[in-house]
């Protein structure tokens, strides 16, 4: 009888090993692994360029959930091909799986690559691992999200969007459209501007949200309108130069869903959009921007004309958002350059490996709308 127990458990081990071997083969076709193979091909051709190439980097992204990261991986692939290096990308199942990501970083440190590219899910929990990397002499380049408190000598460079500026960029582009409405606002006939943030936890989302709010306050104050921020307490507390709700002519309402699922994000958007005085709404990342779009499916209130409906703007790209812009639901969105960030990350790592000096590369957030979507500097970043 016990024989069976043993047999089954051993069988399980076999399944595991088989899965491990077989799985490796299967994966060859998909984008995460083919960097390796392509690069190996490249290496053969460029074998003579001894100083250039041959390096192996490990890249850890926040997750593979959204297509944003697909674009980043694309950029990594591209850089690998050009440089003749190899890179292997991995990431947790969910952007909130902090624990998993830490384990992944520790694991790649054990593999002793020539460098690590890191998009940290959480800037605090990775600090120990960064220290470890520094001790092991493995250079780290942060991309997408910077790690401010990184221990000395661990992070060589950061390739990241200035999220505050990117958030402000959305406010700057949104304001002119709603300017008349804002000007017409009084304390009795307030206008409401909505913002949906995925959470109040990730640093880049926080910066983006705060950037938008700060800029919007500044612009409204510029036309002599007082602003109140309501909703999620974190953002309410972070905002400066605000007045109480009763005194304000303009209200910025911040919604944060309980969990980062699209259904909850869209509920938050609905809540804001359903209000009579709402004139504009901003979704500060792909999930929440899509939440706004989903909410509009029932409300049908979004419009590019402030007289006819609510002005919508989003962040990042993805098919639904691009369609929303083309169909006149969003006036536009801010995109980062995930592709370029991935690309620059590998470039920087390569430079470090070769011993060249590197510096931080700030990436811009670009405003895009129907006008410039086809432009050369924009189009590649508008991933599906």
């Amino acid at each position: 009888m016990k024989k069976k127990v043993l047999a089954i458990l051993l069988g399980a081990v076999m399944v595991l090993s088989l899965a491990a071997c077989g799985g490796g083969g299967d994966q060859g076709g998909d984008s995460k692994d083919n960097t390796k193979q392509e690069a190996e091909g490249g290496q053969d051709e460029g074998g003579s360029q001894s100083s250039d190439g041959g390096y192996h980097f490990e890249v850890i992204v926040k997750s593979f959930q959204s297509t944003y990261w697909q674009a980043a991986v694309q950029g990594i692939d591209q850089a690998c091909e050009e440089l003749g290096v190899t890179a292997n990308a991995n990431g947790p199942a969910n952007e909130s799986d902090i624990a998993d990501q830490v384990q992944m970083i520790n694991d790649v440190i054990e593999k002793k690559p020539d460098g690590i590219g890191l998009a940290a899910c959480d800037t605090n929990s990775v600090l120990d691992s960064l220290t470890k990397a520094a001790e092991a002499g493995i250079p780290v380049v942060c991309f997408d999200t910077g790690v401010d408190d990184a221990p000395e000598g661990s992070v060589y460079a950061t390739v990241a969007t200035d999220n505050e500026a990117a958030g402000a960029c959305a406010a700057e582009n949104m304001f002119p459209v709603i300017e008349d409405k804002v000007k017409a606002a009084t304390t009795d006939a307030k206008v409401r501007i909505g913002e949906v943030n995925q959470d109040a936890t990730a640093l880049n989302i926080q910066q983006r949200g705060n950037g938008f709010i700060a800029k919007m306050i500044e612009l409204c104050n510029g036309v002599d309108k007082k602003v109140a921020v309501v909703g999620n307490e974190f953002y309410v507390n972070a905002a400066e130069g605000t007045v109480s709700e009763a005194e304000a002519e303009v209200i910025i309402e911040v919604g944060v869903p309980a969990q980062t699922t699209v259904d909850l994000a869209s509920t938050e958007a609905q809540k804001i959009m359903a209000k009579e005085d709402t004139i504009a709404i901003f979704g500060s990342n792909q999930t929440t921007a899509e939440g706004v779009i989903t909410a509009n499916q029932t409300l049908n209130k979004l419009s590019t004309d402030p007289e006819k409906g609510i002005i919508g703007a989003g962040f990042d790209a993805g098919t639904p958002q691009k369609e929303a812009i083309m169909n006149g639901q969003f006036i536009g969105s801010v995109t980062q350059s995930p592709l370029m960030m991935g690309y620059e990350c590998i470039q920087t790592l390569n430079k470090i490996a070769k011993g060249e000096s590197v510096s931080d590369i700030p990436m811009d957030g670009y405003w895009y709308d129907t006008e410039n979507m086809e432009d050369d500097n924009i189009a590649p970043n508008l991933y599906d």
Binding site: S66, N94, V262, I293, Q297, G318, T319, P320, E323, N327
Partner: protein, 323 residues
């Protein structure tokens, strides 16, 4: 005729839940002017489709005295796979929908085999399938999220099954019609066909049912297959309602569905339950999800309330039994 049977004889519990729904709607409308608008009604319904579908299915394993925890991660997985076929393999939308439902059936059969044939505790077996389905979708689709075609694009017609926009811009939630039809069908299946009868019988006394010459394994398995099938349908509903399917989502969806069913009077120990009750229970959960943010409570309160309502719903039964 059918309708009369399903709705003509509402049981005490169903009336109670219906009462709670009415009370909640009145309360929310009273507290929030924006809540009493037509679009909000539509959005409550919108939110409820995939949960209702899951609940319709999971009621069957619950009535057999088991549970199916794999439906939540399952539906996201199936929707991912379906979407992957459409977007990355250029298959027609129909194929994607069929794949979605097909995968649901397949996992349903798998659960059924584990529980009915191999005799594993349902809780544990489906916990494992929950993990498996969680990994399956991303593993097959390379780990990235996919967006099914949008309502505006040519192949996005399938979204109109659930929501139809008239020329005048009014949104008609025709999805609810389909849901009600499905509720009636499943209510009929549970109350007036062998499948339903044996499902209740298994939950009541499995051994006795077996001794009565019923092919218990088959019908026990069928309960899980129904659950899987509806998880597949829920996958389609989810894909139709929301823009992008993110892998890794879905854990916890099953609790909304199971919680709804339980609030609606389905017994966690088997033998008792109605489809109409499960449906109404889900509406309570969805009302809370959508309604609480409207009355100015931060989204997180909703979770606390869900927890309290769940316990209250079961305590009602416990106290009743004590009397």
């Amino acid at each position: 005729m059918v309708k009369k049977r399903a709705f003509g004889k509402l049981k005490g519990r169903e009336v109670m839940v219906l009462g709670i729904i009415v009370a909640m709607v009145i309360l929310f409308s009273f507290l929030s002017p924006t809540f009493r608008t037509y679009p909000t009604l539509v959005s409550v319904l919108d939110n409820s489709y995939y949960i209702t579908l899951m609940a319709l299915g999971v009621t069957f394993p619950l009535i057999t005295g088991g549970v199916d925890l794999s439906i939540g991660t399952g539906l996201v997985s199936y929707a991912l796979i379906g979407g992957y076929l459409i977007i990355h393999m250029d298959m027609p939308v129909g194929v994607g929908i069929l794949a979605c439902i097909g995968m649901g059936l397949l996992i349903g059969v798998f659960n059924g085999v584990l529980v009915a044939v191999m005799d594993l505790p349902p809780f544990l077996a489906t916990l494992c399938t929950c993990m498996i389905t969680r990994g399956l979708g991303p593993a097959l689709c390379g780990g990235f999220g996919v967006s099914w075609p949008s309502a505006l694009s040519e192949s996005g017609t399938f979204r109109k099954i659930f929501k139809f926009t008239t020329a005048g811009g009014t949104v008609v939630p025709i999805g609810i019609i389909f849901i009600v039809i499905l509720v009636l069908i499943m209510s009929y299946v549970l109350n007036h066909t062998r499948v339903g009868r044996y499902t209740i019988a298994i939950g009541s006394n499995k051994e006795a049912t077996r001794l009565a010459g019923v092919n218990v394994k088959f019908y026990h398995m069928l309960a899980y297959i129904i659950s899987g099938l509806f998880a597949g349908l829920a996958g389609v509903a989810y894909a139709a309602t929301y823009a992008t399917i993110y892998p890794g989502a879905g854990a916890g969806f099953e609790l909304d569905a199971i919680g709804g069913a339980i609030v609606g009077g389905v017994s966690a120990s088997g033998g008792v339950g109605s489809i109409v009750g499960a449906f109404l229970g889900v509406i309570v959960i969805c009302l809370m999800k959508v309604g609480l943010p409207f009355i100015g409570l931060q989204a997180n309160w909703q979770q606390i309330f869900t927890g309290i309502v769940l316990i209250a719903a079961v305590l009602v039964d416990v106290v009743k039994k004590k009397k």
